[in-house]
């Protein structure tokens, strides 16, 4: 579809176009909810079945890094919200600065995550690769399910983060060219929605994976 100014050919007006883009993004995010929902279901079932093994396995995770990462991701959501705000206020430079800040915070999150993964490899906690959990055999097996879910859940989350970083880069380039400080801002707003959604997933992953019965 060719663009005539900010309006795509098959829309009647800008309002219709904006509403459409926003609704499309929200619908997409609901598919993401269900996507992670499957993992949350698997997690819930096994945590209910193998509570103690899950608690023991959870204690192998680095809570401090997890908490730190939660903070980093919340801050990145904040800067992303500010980026949307800057786009609404039509401030191009501010928009670019906030986008860069978001990207940096996202990269920081992924770096910390990378260190955590490396730790798991060192501690022989990677199922299917070098898994060797200290403890009774049955508990070790159930803990293996925990680590399988840990890697699947955080891995899927990290994949979304990486996609988000790529998306931010593209947004940044177009923002720098001044695309999103006029009437056409849907990509920035939808990018924001996506980024916040990824944040929300982590908000749930953190307590579920890292904070099982730490008081023992």
């Amino acid at each position: 579809m060719e663009r005539t100014g900010a309006l795509f050919g098959h829309f009647r007006d800008l309002d219709q176009q904006r509403e459409t883009a926003s609704l499309g993004m929200w619908v997409f995010l609901m598919t993401e909810v269900m996507f992670f929902g499957g993992l949350f279901l698997a997690y819930t079932v096994y945590r209910w079945k193998y509570h103690d093994a899950f608690a023991a396995a959870s204690r192998e995770l680095d809570v401090t890094m997890g908490a730190l990462n939660t903070g980093v991701l919340i801050l990145s959501s904040f800067t992303m919200a500010l980026a949307v705000w800057a786009s609404q206020m039509r401030k191009r430079n501010l928009l670019c600065i906030f986008l860069i800040a978001t990207m940096l915070l996202g990269a920081a999150f992924l770096t910390v995550k990378g260190f955590e993964y490396a730790q798991k490899f060192e501690h022989h906690l990677v199922p299917g690769y070098n898994y060797d959990f200290p403890g009774p055999e049955a508990e070790a097996q159930h803990a293996e399910i925990f680590f399988a879910l840990y890697f699947l859940m955080t891995g899927m989350h990290a994949v979304h983060m990486i996609i988000g970083e790529g998306m931010l880069l593209i947004l940044l380039i177009y923002a720098w060219k001044g695309h999103f400080t006029g009437d056409y801002r849907a990509p920035i707003e939808n990018g924001g929605l996506y980024w916040h959604f990824v944040d929300i997933v982590w908000i749930f992953l953190f307590p579920l994976l890292y904070l099982i019965d730490l008081h023992h």
Binding site: D13, D15, Q16, R18, E19, S22, L23, W26, V27, L29, M30, V33, M34, G37, G38, F40, L41, T44, V45, W48, K49, V63, A67, T70, G71, I74, L75, S77, F78, M80, A81, L82, W85, Q88, M89, G192, L193, H196, F197, D199, I200, I203, F204, F206, P207, L208, Y210, L211, I212, D213, L214, H215
Partner: protein, 108 residues
């Protein structure tokens, strides 16, 4: 005819809402505080309440993000309906499956 067009117009012309920066900052601070709270509480033995507290705090945080960072508080009703559908369906998945697991070994 007349009202249907009006209705369509209302649907399509939701005014764009600009949230002040102060609100964002406030929400961000709240989220960070809640993160700290959930982290600290995890080390206190509350019995089965630990997981409840953790989930409740996570839900509060997620709600704040959805409402303010994602502007759902200012979004048209249709958007809120979509969000509601997502949440309801996820609970259908969890609830009905757990309905099997939680009753599977009941005496019969």
């Amino acid at each position: 005819m007349q009202d249907s067009q009006e209705h369509a117009a209302r649907e399509q012309h939701a005014p764009e809402h600009i949230v002040p920066i102060k609100t964002y900052a406030l929400i961000c601070a709240t989220l960070l505080v809640l993160t700290f709270v959930t982290y600290s509480v995890a080390f206190v033995d509350l019995g089965p309440l630990n997981v409840v507290v953790a989930i409740v705090i996570a839900c509060v945080k997620a709600t704040l993000v959805v409402l303010f960072f994602m502007h759902a508080a200012y979004a048209p009703r249709r958007t809120r309906l979509v969000i509601l559908a997502g949440i309801v369906w996820m609970f259908l998945l969890l609830g009905l499956t757990l309905a099997d697991y939680l009753t599977r070994f009941l005496p019969r």
